[in-house]
Symmetry: C2
Subunit: 370 residues, 2 copies
């Protein structure tokens, strides 16, 4: 088991990463005194998979499970309003505690409801997907989507604890595992060359097959323990230095400006988040190469690792102008200038302003854009 501290003064909290730990959570909550009454927010599938295990440890609490429909499209203000209604119906009060059991959608939505119910009640992230364990559940970004933009309505609101059980990963479909791996690779690129190398060395283990037999499961869990804990540590460090994303936290957006544009352009259907980010990272690395910030062999290392992890690195059948325009309305635009987080080397990133659209166009064309 690993414990990582997110240092945010009076809002500091721990990330716990371990195997088969769900049923211990109740004891931790009791000792910390985080709430007298528990509301688990989850979806039906996740509830079927992990709900009972989690509730086993909560028998000494009054506990309600609130299920919401599954999927990114449910992350909206209407579902949030429904959750407020249910909390009110169950007389949830300031000492009530929300557990967000699920992936990023559940975490963002339940976190937002926790942030805004009675001006903020305690909540704990219990992420069950790789993407949520290494990214979404850490850092206090909560929110729901607006028809015209993802996460347009939200709040920065830190959980009391992030509680990641690696056992949950074994039930993930391969594509879901891969989407998380894109963010894992990102952490290596932006902050930690050794970690990137660890991923290169272990890439052949990083798939769902390792979970399939009891023989390989133990070895796999050991690798995943390192991956989730290291990723969490990197994200925690960045968040500690810039809780509200006014500066340094922007480096976490490496690959995301182009990634978000692709997701939005294809109406969140062609690519999942990690796939779009994988393409975005390759494109962004190539932009860094174009402006002589990054050497060509490093771009190739990035492309090669992502390919081995079965993540997409090409961009076919997409219109260049549409990507550029989709980037222009991305919420990372500051004062009208296009600003990107660009790598100088593996483990080293910087923010560059005023990147010309034609550089971006050229790179997109190289990658197969029309």
């Amino acid at each position: 088991m690993a414990k990582i501290k997110v240092e945010l003064k009076e809002r500091s909290y721990e990330i716990v990463v371990g195997t088969d730990i769900l049923s211990n959570l109740g004891k931790i909550i009791k000792e910390a005194g985080w709430g007298s009454e528990i509301f688990i927010i989850t979806d039906q599938l996740v509830n079927e998979l992990f709900g009972d295990k989690l509730r086993q440890g909560l028998i000494s609490f009054s506990c309600q499970t609130l299920e919401i429909p599954r999927g990114e499209r449910q992350k909206n203000l209407k579902i949030a309003a429904k959750l407020y209604d249910e909390l009110v119906d169950h007389a949830a009060h300031r000492d009530s505690l929300i557990l967000a059991l699920g992936g990023g959608v559940i975490g963002d939505l339940a976190g937002f409801v926790a942030a805004t119910y009675m001006r903020g009640i305690n909540y704990i992230q219990v992420p069950t997907t790789l993407l949520a364990q290494v990214d979404a559940a850490i850092g206090g970004k909560t929110g729901v989507n607006h028809p015209n933009g993802k996460n347009l309505i939200g709040a920065f609101y830190q959980p009391k604890l992030v509680y990641s059980d690696l056992q949950c990963l074994s039930s993930l479909p391969a594509r879901e595992l891969r989407t998380g791996l894109a963010e894992v690779v990102k952490y290596g690129i932006i902050e930690d060359a050794d970690f990137f190398q660890f991923l290169e060395t272990n890439a052949h283990h990083l798939n769902t097959k390792a979970f399939e037999s009891p023989d390989t499961l133990r070895a796999a869990l050991k690798v995943w323990q390192t991956i989730v804990a290291e990723s969490a540590k990197i994200k925690a460090t960045v968040v500690s230095h810039d809780e509200m994303e006014t500066g340094r936290r922007m480096i976490l957006n490496f690959g995301h400006t182009i990634g978000h544009a692709l997701e939005s352009l294809t109406h969140y259907k062609a690519y999942n988040h990690g796939e779009a980010v994988a393409i975005g990272m390759v494109a962004t690395a190539k932009i860094a190469q174009e402006i002589n910030l990054l050497a060509a062999p490093v771009v190739e290392r990035i492309r090669s690792l992502l390919t081995r992890l079965e993540l997409p690195v090409k961009l076919e059948g997409i219109n260049i102008d549409k990507v550029i325009s989709a980037m222009g309305i991305d919420k990372k635009v500051k004062g009208g200038k296009l600003r990107l987080a660009l790598p100088e080397a593996i483990g080293n990133i910087r923010i560059v302003d005023d990147i010309p659209a034609k550089t971006i166009s050229r790179v997109l064309q190289e990658m197969g854009c029309q």
Copy 2:
């Protein structure tokens, strides 16, 4: 002009109180660099009264005015959603700045939208009612109502500035002015005996008549300057010590637990907020007297000042059990115990737990409850 600092570390801000200062706000925003684009959120009446004056100073900004329908019933999630839509339509971004121009409803709602649009953008409170200038606009409580409870959905989110123009008070109806005075009296009781005495000395000036002739207007504005600035200072101090209302900030609830019960019971029709709080303060002072915390002559001083300010101090035609039950579901209930902020003397208050319902019943009966 007075400036009061609300000390909240990196979230600190100033309260400015002055006369005829609306048109200077643009200059202050420019110098502070709080935003490149301004959205004024207001209602039609307030916009007609003060909008042009405010916009006079904003000519160098891109500026949109978003009007919402007037009244407490509009403070809901649906109107917030409509404001999100309008902000998105106007491509509001992270550097956009919201000005909340109006009373408490506008301030709470616009503050909540600012707190949750793109996870928080800058906003400034420009309170135009006495109640908002001395209370609602200070301290970062933002939110909207749920059909089952006031302010059930909200966030703590501090403005960049509270900018109170006393000139706005001259257009307030008498009853609106009085509702603010109840909170003003509260500040004297909970924190400042000298200020309470100042109110006793000047009670005859504290009405709308003083605004009516140019002769009395100047003297009146001087008195109001003291009242608004002193009230703001007291609230700022309490908020500085307890931003999230986990402890000391509870003293601001003096009179409010009973007040809220009365408002809720009468469906926010029989009493406005200040009237309900006035009755609540007298009842609470009597409870303090019943448990030998407060001397009878002090209760009489409180009752007498409120009466001179034409605020209600009796409770007729209301059912005792309904008040008690309405208090039981009030959100200030912690762990099932009834906890009240009770005065020990003018300027001195403390939190008392476990107040027996029968003490409350007896007091309510004395005040005319059935």
